[in-house]
């Protein structure tokens, strides 16, 4: 079944925290689909993609903070136009929601 859940379940059952990222909205000329998903694990490995390149670097940095503090958050990511290159921010904006997954169920509701 769903490998997304499989990954989360497998890692949290080992007592590891998992950070998930999902694209919740996109504006402008972005090739990313709403619903694109990525997981970040404590050992630095990942699963899935939210679109590669610069987007992923931004999301990865935020996911590291989520793994550290266990708090979900929503961020905006500006996309760099893939023809004009760095500096020109005209490729659109993505909104990405990050979530912290902990197994066990001992943590209080935030």
């Amino acid at each position: 079944m769903e490998k997304y859940f499989q990954q989360i379940v497998a890692h949290t059952e080992r007592g590891e925290r998992v950070a998930s990222a999902v694209v919740v909205s996109s504006r402008g000329s972005t090739p990313q689909d709403v619903g694109a998903r990525m997981l970040f694990f404590a050992d630095g490995t990942t699963w899935g993609t939210v679109g590669g390149g610069c987007v992923e670097a931004d999301v990865r940095a935020e996911a590291r903070r989520v793994l550290a503090d266990g708090k979900g958050r929503a961020i905006s990511v500006e996309l760099v136009d893939d023809v004009r290159g760095e500096g020109d921010v005209c490729g659109g904006t993505l909104e990405v929601l990050l979530e912290s997954w902990d197994g066990g169920g001992t943590r209080a509701v935030g």
Binding site: K3, V9, V34, G35, G72, E99, G105, V109, G110
Partner: protein, 275 residues
């Protein structure tokens, strides 16, 4: 129990039954106290809404939207006022809620474990299909030959297909070693909800199979959903190339593609919005 831990318990259930789940996240809020972004609730057909996003009015609308997201399969963002009516981000009070649908991974069932099945299992696994291989020959259907497959079954094809739950996310490829096996498999598959049934073989071999099944009372229109001969026409020759042609067809069906070139053939500067 916090929502993510509770959802994991539900997810474990869903894992076994391939049940789709809608995860309901609060993305942002304005004019309402203490609403931090995060996972709030989830929705399944059987259980309805578990957890709460904001108040009962908002939750009622969210549950209704979740039900339609389950049907469409597309995630959706909604912005609601605290009374559950539609709102925009210009309003002084709103909650923005993201309904994320997590459906079962598409599965590829490869019937027959020969020389096409091997590269096909590798490609299909890379493409993200849960990959299952079945063949009655244990010296063909084994982990050693299919390291990338999720499951490999060495058992008679008909007996296997009679038992196996083929749902509307199970793609099926028939690459058995003889048309009598394809025929036996197809007989059982024609009534299934599989979104894709592909069958290998020359046009002649395919006709032989169809003729036999027609003689048994199947109708011509039942063969319309069968992709046979199998694969997109890319001139594939080798087993790996044929596996690629089959995979391309799977994606084409799954993503509703057109199976043609994307190339801009007649591009002239200034005529296509290029700078």
């Amino acid at each position: 129990m916090n929502p993510t831990a509770a959802v994991l318990v539900a997810a474990r259930e869903a894992l076994h039954t391939r049940t789709p789940v809608v995860l309901i996240h609060l993305v942002s809020a304005r004019g309402v106290d203490g609403e931090e972004p995060g996972l709030r609730a989830w929705y399944t057909d059987a259980e309805g809404l578990t957890g709460s996003v904001h108040n009962s009015k908002v939750d009622a609308v969210v549950a209704r939207e979740a039900a339609s997201v389950l049907v469409s399969g597309h995630p959706q963002m909604i912005t609601l006022g605290t009374d559950g009516t539609e709102a925009t981000r210009r309003d002084s009070e709103y909650v923005r809620v993201f309904l994320d649908v997590v459906v079962a991974t598409p599965r590829l069932l490869i019937v027959g474990a020969g020389h096409i099945a091997q590269p096909l299992a590798n490609i299909s696994s890379v493409l993200g299909f849960e990959t299952v291989v079945v063949d009655e020959r244990a010296d063909f259907a084994n982990r050693h030959r299919f390291p990338a497959a999720d499951e490999v079954f060495a058992c008679p094809i008909e007996a296997f297909l009679e038992d196996y739950a083929i749902d509307d996310r199970t793609f099926v490829v028939l690459v058995t070693r003889a048309h009598r096996f394809d025929e036996a498999a197809l007989r059982l598959l024609l009534g299934s909800p599989a979104p894709y049934i592909g069958m290998i073989g020359s046009r002649r071999r395919v006709h032989v199979v169809y003729k036999t099944l027609l003689g048994e009372g199947f109708r011509t229109d039942q063969f319309e959903r069968v992709f046979a001969p199998i694969g997109l026409d890319i001139g594939a020759k080798t087993p790996a190339e044929i596996a690629l042609a089959i995979s391309a067809e799977l994606i084409n069906v799954r993503r509703h593609g057109r199976g043609s070139h994307l190339s801009i053939g007649d591009f002239r500067l200034g005529q296509h919005g290029g700078s």
